[in-house]
């Protein structure tokens, strides 16, 4: 209950901040991107090199609908399979995030497409986690070996996102983002705490940071 009320108040502050930053365009032809921009998170591949037991991929799309304001959708998949001394743990599932980015760089030259953005996301993940070969040492009554544990879960979280996108060549962007995430339902499984909530991270932590480093390609559907 405390977690939920705290999260709601944080979400309220977030909305207030976005509304404060967002100043609708007063001019006419003010859009910069003129088309959807698709992204691939390259940091996921670096994480695989760092920890081969965790696999993931993430794609995104954004589109400037109002000057400097970019609705964003991010979709991804995460899985983890690890073997500890007394059990094996696995989790896998899909996730999605929806939100807004606001470009803080207020360039007058509309041919400049670089961006320093601040925004927010709502994330949801549908996944399952399981444990097997569970061994509980017990010197009194004898060691206990349990059957497989498995449960389907849904995770919800909010993210604050700050990032940079630089246009390297026309329509091709690279950029990174730093994310602060807070989980809305940390007690989703009171029996076995989720070690990995796809798209969020460690389900044992109520909040945490995340990093993405992505390459983007804008499809120039509309001409200036």
């Amino acid at each position: 209950m405390i977690h939920i009320s705290g999260s709601i108040s944080k979400a309220g502050l977030l909305v207030l901040l976005i509304l404060t930053l967002w100043r609708p365009a007063s001019g006419q032809d003010t859009l910069r991107t003129y088309g959807p921009r698709f992204g691939l998170d390259l940091a996921r591949f670096a994480f695989i090199l760092a920890d081969p037991s965790e696999l993931g991929a993430e794609v995104s799309v954004d589109f400037e609908i109002i000057r400097n304001l970019y609705p964003v959708i991010e979709l991804g998949y995460n899985s983890i399979a690890e073997s500890e001394d007394y059990f094996k743990y696995a989790a896998s599932g899909f996730y999605g995030r929806i939100g807004l980015d606001y470009n803080l760089i207020n360039l007058k030259d509309r041919s400049q497409h670089h961006a320093f953005t601040f925004g927010a996301r709502y994330g949801i993940s549908v996944f399952s986690h399981s444990a097997e070969d569970i061994y509980i040492p017990n010197p009194y009554w004898g060691d206990y070996v349990s059957e497989t544990y498995e449960k389907d879960l849904t995770g919800h979280w909010i993210e604050l996102v700050a990032g940079i996108k630089a246009e390297l060549v026309p329509n091709l962007f690279m950029g990174w983002s730093l994310r602060y995430k807070f989980l809305l339902n940390p007690g989703m499984d009171p029996q076995v705490q989720a070690q990995m909530v796809p798209g969020y991270g460690n389900g044992g932590k109520d909040s945490g940071f995340g990093i993405s480093y992505s390459i983007f390609y804008k499809i120039p559907l509309l001409k200036k």
């Binding site: 994480f47 090199l49 760092a50 500890e84 017990n138 009554w141 009171p190 076995v192 480093y213």
Partner: protein, 157 residues
């Protein structure tokens, strides 16, 4: 181009932030039983001198838990293989058998500690007529963490 260098540095940062906390908890779930006396509706703590406690395992040898020492409170490990745990209490010439009914489920203590058994004590605690006269369940949930639990049951002598 500076982007690859930035990418590399951020990746190294992410790797360096990965830690696993050491396990500081064992996997044994124990009932905290406090000894009480009742006189005229007034409950008070008591110490049992020369108390010896054995655990009884089905089809196996009994094992010694406490050996002729004075106690006002003891820890009784519960049996994850059965829906009850049975103990023999001896004080001088008195002997009694205590049976604690329970059900159990596994739960994850932590990623570094692994799993443990969480028990829920049943109300039908059984004993003979030799030593115990009454019982009260204070907290029926028994797991590996004793940090937030003072007592699970009171046993009246």
């Amino acid at each position: 181009m500076k982007a690859p260098l930035l990418f590399l540095s951020l990746s190294l940062l992410a790797i360096s932030c990965t830690t696993l906390e050491p396990c500081e908890e064992d996997s044994i779930s124990e009932v905290v039983a406090s000894f009480k006396t009742e006189s005229g509706g007034l409950v008070s703590d008591t110490t049992i001198s020369a108390l010896t406690v054995y655990g009884i395992r089905e089809g196996q040898d009994i094992w010694l838990l406490y050996d002729s020492v004075a106690y006002s409170e003891i820890l009784l490990p519960l049996d994850p293989h059965h829906d009850f745990s049975r103990f023999v209490f001896e004080t001088g010439e008195q002997t009694d058998t205590l049976t604690l009914p329970h059900n159990s489920e596994i739960y994850l203590i932590s990623y570094s500690c692994g799993f443990g058994n969480q028990f829920t004590l049943g109300r039908d605690i059984q004993y003979g007529a030799g030593m115990f006269v009454n019982d009260t369940i204070i907290n029926p949930i028994v797991n590996t963490s004793l940090e937030e639990v003072d007592t699970h049951i009171w046993l009246y002598f």
